[in-house]
């Protein structure tokens, strides 16, 4: 959600115009399916994580291939997140700073967090989450005076089609709930995950949709679609006389912390599934080699923001949906047919 807040609204508003807020809400629907699949799989293999049960379901060779593919997927998600982080900072905040410096700091912090284990990351997230939500709420309240409801009209101009097209770039954001496929066995109360996961998805959908709505109600659909980071522009827009202004620094701070946590989680997932697929005892030896992949990849994969945006818009939704929906669905399907379940790992 943190990462979605910045880039996605611009992409969505470009296509869905004044109905972009519906598009962002609509995009959350497939992720509920994803959550359901993950939960079903988790119920079948309560002690195993995704890279383990792919091997049980699909057999050793094919399972390893799929597991490897998931490693690449997590790797890519994380590279994209790091890219977005440095991209945003260099565009909007520190144009003179080379991206590699920002990336290096980010990857190092991520590596440190991963070294400390998943519980540390989770606790950090627990601490930051309310702060993030409160600051978002403050932001929404403080832009209220400038809101013009009329800018959301005409409702569904051009029918439902542009809304569906516009929702595609944001589907992958919600689809990141797939992380539960690995995290599920580590959760204390896995039986609650279905309800809480759905609740989390719903919250994210409401907040993203509200963010989009406020952006639209203030800048209108034409300008929002043109801005690279409309939400950022929105936080810059807040100004009450001379005593409350330039609050975007606060938003930036919380956004950065949120990004760091997200990157740490995906970093952890990459290391963890690598270790599992390769049959290592601990994931810790993988951490630093992984940093050596992240750093150059995040710095040199995309030459500029336009390329990055193009990738997010054109290729990522499909790539994302393969890993977030299609593959889990196939796994579940095969598991049901082959009646594989509850086999404790070797």
């Amino acid at each position: 959600m943190v990462s979605a807040l910045l880039l996605v609204p611009g992409l969505t508003a470009e296509k869905a115009k004044q109905s972009a807020w519906i598009a962002i809400g609509l995009a959350s629907l497939p992720s509920f399916l994803c959550l359901w699949i993950v939960w079903k799989l988790g119920k079948r293999f309560p002690k195993n994580t995704l890279p383990e049960y792919t091997e049980i379901i699909l057999g050793k060779v094919l399972g390893k291939v799929v597991g490897g593919a998931y490693i690449l997927f997590f790797l890519l998600v994380n590279i994209l997140s790091i890219c977005e982080f440095s991209e945003f900072l260099t565009v909007c905040f520190m144009p003179q700073t080379p991206a590699i410096a920002l990336n290096a700091i980010l990857v190092l912090i991520g590596a440190y967090a991963v070294l400390k284990g998943i519980e540390v990351i989770a606790r950090a997230a627990q601490f930051v989450f309310p702060l993030f939500m409160i600051s978002l709420l403050i932001l929404f309240v403080s832009v209220l005076p400038a809101v013009k409801l009329g800018k959301l009209l005409p409702f569904l101009e051009g029918g439902i089609k542009p809304v569906i097209w516009g929702s595609i770039p944001s589907i992958f954001v919600y689809g990141e709930i797939i992380v539960l496929a690995i995290l599920l066995p580590m959760v204390n109360k896995p039986e609650e995950i279905k309800r809480k996961g759905a609740f989390a998805l719903l919250t994210v959908a409401i907040f993203l949709s509200a963010g989009m709505m406020f952006t639209l109600m203030i800048f209108g659909s034409n300008l929002s679609g043109d801005l690279l980071f409309p939400f950022w522009y929105l936080s810059k827009y807040i100004e009450f006389g001379s005593y409350l202004q330039r609050v975007e620094g606060l938003i930036l701070l919380l956004w950065m912390i949120g990004m760091i946590i997200k990157i740490a989680i995906f970093y952890y997932l990459t290391c963890f599934s690598t270790a599992k697929t390769l049959g290592l005892k601990s994931y810790k030896p993988v951490i630093y080699p992984m940093a050596l992949i992240y750093l150059p990849a995040a710095t040199f994969l995309f030459r500029n923001t336009a390329e990055f945006r193009q990738f997010l818009e054109l290729y990522w939704p499909y790539l994302g949906s393969i890993f977030e929906l299609v593959l889990p669905l196939i796994l579940l399907f095969v598991a049901v047919i082959r009646k594989k379940q509850r086999r404790v790992s070797r």
């Binding site: 565009v91 520190m94 144009p95 700073t97 080379p98 700091i105 009209l153 300008l223």
Partner: protein
């Protein structure tokens, strides 16, 4: 041994962290910044070659008063820098060439744009500005008849800073007194991008002094009207008031309106206005209806003898006058062929199919459309004395 490494790693991490919190490569010491407060842009085209002039006022650093004397009285705390070049970008790097400081644009309160620039280069200018990361979304867009440099040279009237004066005027006072309206960069860009509306911008002019002894002064009065990214005309004070009545909801205003009834002049001050545009589509015919509600008071001038029925009659006179002002604005919009009042936008929002039939000719269609204005004015106060 292991613990040692851990401490070492942690300290490296902290050092790196502190680097990010100071901004590393992008860090700027405040002593080395030239804080730009206003920027004037003039464009000319002489013998086929473009020529840009940028004039910017820089905030004088504290404690480094150039003249060093405190007795200057009405002295500006801003220094004017001027540069010229062939493109906007070249000029932007040319104007601070005299100064050792790096210009910082995060505190610009308004862009002052010369008439010729507004006529020919407005889209280019707006896009360049909205792209630039230091710029703020609420910077005012101010157009001037003539050259922007003149406005900056005229300096502030009362305040120490022209930038502060213009910002306060544009953000609060201009609307509350009905003189003009502060149009921000965001509003303006939205208007330029809009497929159904034309933008306006704040108008500031250098006027000759009315009081002898003072120099030239800036006056924020009226609005500049655009059509598809080009300046095409101006609104005078009355038309501006009509524009405000139709498009804005004024709160806490104090706008005087002089009306005559039975050969007596009354000053009516209106404080609150509310307006609503309705699009009426019957068959192929599109028309608009504007409902304006105004609440105000009759100024407590002497010799006032108003009974309840007089007030009713006076309200009718005021309504006529307000309707006249609004009609002037509508007529001007039709004359300029520019829908800055947002009628077509309303049609687009509420009556999609009718809007689609207009196509790209929407401006032309508007200029022949009928607009009905209904004003409801109320007098709620007549001062502190009875009859």
């Amino acid at each position: 041994m292991k613990k040692k490494y851990r401490i070492l790693g942690l300290s490296i991490l902290i050092i790196l962290q502190s680097a990010i919190s100071t901004g590393c490569w992008s860090s700027k010491e405040v002593e080395s910044l030239a804080v730009v407060t206003l920027m004037g842009i003039d464009y000319t085209n002489e013998n086929g070659s473009d020529m840009w002039t940028i004039s910017a006022t820089i905030l004088n650093p504290l404690g480094q008063d150039k003249e060093g004397d405190q007795s200057r009285g009405k002295g500006s705390q801003e220094t004017l820098l001027v540069g010229t070049g062939r493109t906007l970008q070249e000029t932007i790097s040319a104007f601070p060439a005299h100064s050792s400081r790096t210009p910082y644009y995060g505190h610009i309160s308004a862009f002052i744009i010369g008439e010729k620039t507004a006529k020919e280069k407005m889209c280019e200018f707006t896009e360049a500005n909205i792209r630039y990361w230091e710029n703020r979304p609420r910077t005012l867009i101010i157009i001037t008849k003539g050259k922007a440099l003149d406005v900056l040279q005229a300096g502030p009237a009362v305040d120490k800073l022209l930038s502060k004066e213009l910002k306060e005027l544009g953000m609060k006072k201009a609307l509350a007194t009905g003189y003009s309206y502060g149009v921000t960069l965001t509003d303006f860009a939205e208007g330029l991008k809009s497929p159904d509306r034309d933008p306006v911008a704040t108008l500031v002019n250098v006027v000759p002094p009315e009081v002898p002894g003072l120099g030239q002064q800036n006056l924020m009065e009226g609005l500049a009207v655009f059509q598809g990214g080009r300046l095409i005309g101006w609104l005078n004070k009355e038309e501006t008031m009509g524009y405000l009545l139709i498009t804005q909801n004024i709160n806490n205003g104090h706008i005087p309106l002089v009306v005559t009834k039975d050969n007596i002049l009354f000053s009516y001050y209106f404080a609150t206005t509310k307006s609503k545009i309705l699009s009426v589509v019957t068959g192929d015919n599109i028309s608009y209806r504007v409902q304006i509600k105004v609440i105000g008071a009759i100024a407590d001038n002497s010799g006032l003898r108003l009974k309840a029925e007089d007030i009713k009659a006076l309200e009718n006179v005021i309504e006529d006058r307000l309707r006249d002002l609004s009609t002037q604005a509508v007529d001007k919009a039709k004359e300029y062929n520019s829908d800055f009042l947002g009628f077509t936008e309303k049609l687009h929002r509420t009556n999609l199919s009718a809007w689609q039939t207009l196509g790209s000719d929407w401006r032309k269609a508007f200029s022949t459309t009928e607009v009905e204005i209904v004003v409801d004015a109320k007098i709620v106060q007549t001062g502190m004395m009875g009859e």
